[in-house]
């Protein structure tokens, strides 16, 4: 599997070439949100709104009313947390075509609690009219723009940046409301999103060798969350359902799956892996995924717990799984 760098930076410029209605807003994080090339290429469609996010969100809502599609770029926390009322009243209520690109989801930054968007999916999926998407690989990042732009209403996108793997073939593009079904097993249904999917794939590679039959589902649309193909896989799981998300276990993917299970009558056990209802702190991604149980070994232990069996899989064995050229070497996310 290849590793690509600055996928959004390049893709956005190519994609927006023949879309004059698309304008880009920056909240003083142009380099950090991969829009420097857009600024250079289309200076007339790039607008600096500074460190004033409440104004930026309402400004975007106003501009969308007059036919433009603002692509607002900043760290996720400065949108959904700092300017939630502006998102609700200036964008979501009037159902405006604003695309919000939220960077540094979950524990993807050593910037600590002020920079970590741990409950953005949970908060934003309660907003009527809002569509919530999440990217987990280069193909997701490349195709999310088309998915978002087809929505007649506001869209929030959890973005990954810098060096990201291509987990899915470039031709298999993200689709609104359709999860990627990576395998169709009958012991465990494993539902993951964002960066957790790659980590989970390390574990599933070894678990399957031990004879565990897994349905692995990669979710890219958190709202609307009603894909019948997902419900079908949940119903097929004999031992239980496990969710794994770079988000608190309250309100995000785990809750989405719980709601779907309840509503479709799936009565097996649900185990939710994620940030366990706590604020996080500043450290490397590799350190934090271990601390909060978002790594492959935590998933193996969860599967063992659900199936009440041991599979003898070690951390060393998981580390040897080579999904991509990416070595997992610690790479500090620059602010």
């Amino acid at each position: 599997m290849e590793i690509l760098t600055q996928v959004h930076e390049k893709n956005l410029v190519a994609w927006a070439k023949d879309k004059p209605e698309v304008v880009v807003f920056s909240g003083d994080l142009t380099g950090s949100t991969e829009i420097t090339l857009f600024k250079k290429t289309y200076p007339d469609r790039f607008f600096s709104l500074g460190m004033a996010e409440q104004n930026m969100m309402s400004f975007a809502g106003g501009m969308a009313r007059d036919g433009f599609t603002p692509f607002v770029h900043t760290f996720a926390v400065f949108m959904y947390r700092r300017a939630l009322d502006q998102i609700e009243m200036s964008i979501a209520y009037p159902n405006q075509r604003v695309r919000m690109f939220g960077f540094l989801p979950g524990i993807m930054t050593p910037g600590g609690v002020s920079h970590q968007a741990i409950n953005d999916v949970g908060v934003l999926r309660t907003l009527p009219n809002m569509t919530v998407l999440e990217t987990g690989d280069a193909t997701d990042v490349e195709s999310v723009l088309d998915v978002a732009q087809a929505v007649d209403g506001p869209v929030y996108i959890r973005m990954v940046r810098k060096d990201i793997p291509r987990l899915f073939p470039a031709s298999e593009r993200m689709q609104l409301g359709k999860a990627r079904i990576l395998s169709r097993g009958t012991d465990i249904a494993l539902v993951t999103a964002g960066i957790c999917t790659e980590e989970a794939m390390r574990a599933t590679a070894l678990l399957e060798k031990q004879g565990v039959s897994i349905s692995h589902i990669h979710v890219t649309t958190h709202k609307p969350f009603n894909d019948p193909a997902v419900a079908e896989r949940l119903a097929a799981a004999r031992f239980g359902v496990i969710t794994m998300e770079n988000h608190t276990t309250v309100g995000g993917l785990g809750s989405e799956v719980a709601e779907m299970m309840a509503e479709t009558g799936v009565s097996t056990r649900l185990t939710r892996l994620g940030i366990p209802d706590t604020y996080a702190h500043g450290a490397s991604k590799e350190y934090l995924v271990k601390e909060y149980g978002l790594d492959a070994i935590s998933l193996v232990r969860a599967v063992e717990g659900v199936m009440n069996q041991k599979f003898g899989i070690s951390e060393e064995a998981l580390a040897d799984v080579r999904l991509s050229e990416f070595t997992g070497e610690m790479q500090l996310e620059a602010l």
């Binding site: 409440q54 106003g62 009313r65 502006q86 200036s90 009037p94 159902n95």
Partner: protein
């Protein structure tokens, strides 16, 4: 010196409209035993000048009798209270109400200028009506949803930037209250308007000096307002908010490269001196007993 007959005509008309706004707001306050009356009294002259003289807008594109609540905005459905302010044309002005609590004043102004049926005003705050107490964008005369304060000016900036990019010549007018000047977003918006040189934005602010808990000077001082707006990059004019000709002249202030802010100092009891006794608790006026209602009825009969 000969009087400009044209000028005389619009001032007379604006005076009539302003008086009508005050009369209708009082009538509604009596009939429904409660209304945002003081806001209508302080802003009546500003809105009258906007609707009769300043705004370059076409005739209403909406039914005289507003339809019932049409549902919230959703894909394929954008309710346009703005249709009462005329069809959306590249050369037409847009009026954005920031202080949604002034809804009654806007509705009364629409009635006085023939854009809404007089009977429709009595649908105010009735269940199922779009003539809501604190309106939203389905309510007559409202383009935005602004009951959460300080957001309209930022939205106006977005609209103004879009209009500039499209080469539209119509202006964007925002009507704000002074309480909103306590919101930090107001100054973020002025900063952005100035930074992006959005001089197609014009703001009338009703500085009536009053908010829910009392006088703004006691609750949270906002002065010196003119200095504050100027410091963030606006061209600022200060006028007597009940002087029709001054209100009109202010709109013609040169402000190339800057948004124009017109601070209109007003009186919340203007036109109904009986209310002086209740100051500063005038945010929402409800009469206490039959005797008081009778006094106001008598006053109304003379308006």
């Amino acid at each position: 010196m000969a009087l400009d007959t044209q000028t005389t005509t619009w001032v007379d008309e604006a005076r009539r409209v302003a008086a009508g706004i005050r009369r209708r707001a009082l009538e509604l306050t009596i009939e429904q035993n409660g209304c945002y009356l003081s806001q209508a009294l302080s802003s009546a002259d500003i809105l009258a000048v906007l609707y009769t003289r300043v705004l370059n807008i076409g005739p209403s594109a909406a039914p005289l009798t507003p339809p019932p609540f049409p549902g919230v905005p959703r894909p394929g459905h954008h309710p346009l209270g703005a249709d009462y302010n005329g069809p959306r044309e590249p050369g037409s002005d847009r009026l954005l109400l920031s202080a949604a609590h002034y809804a009654v004043a806007i509705y009364a102004a629409l009635v006085e200028t023939g854009r809404m049926a007089p009977e429709a005003l009595f649908e105010f705050n009735q269940d199922g009506s779009s003539v809501e107490m604190i309106g939203a964008e389905h309510s007559p005369g409202m383009e935005l949803t602004t009951g959460s304060f300080g957001q309209a000016l930022s939205q106006a900036a977005g609209i103004a930037l879009a209009r500039r990019l499209k080469g539209e010549t119509g202006k964007v007018w925002v009507f704000m209250s002074d309480g909103e000047c306590e919101e930090g977003q107001t100054y973020e918006a002025v900063q952005a308007l100035a930074h992006h040189r959005l001089d197609n934005v014009h703001v009338y602010i009703d500085v009536n000096g009053q908010q829910v808990d009392g006088l703004t000077k006691d609750v949270m001082n906002i002065e010196p307002l003119a200095d504050r707006f100027a410091a963030f990059g606006a061209e600022v004019v200060t006028v007597d908010g009940h002087d029709l000709e001054a209100l009109e002249a202010a709109a013609r202030t040169e402000h190339t490269g800057k948004p124009l802010v017109i601070l209109c100092y007003t009186d919340t009891a203007r036109g109904i001196p009986l209310l002086e006794d209740r100051k500063p608790n005038l945010h929402y006026v409800r009469f206490k007993n039959d005797e008081e209602i009778a006094r106001y009825r008598e006053f109304l009969a003379g308006m």
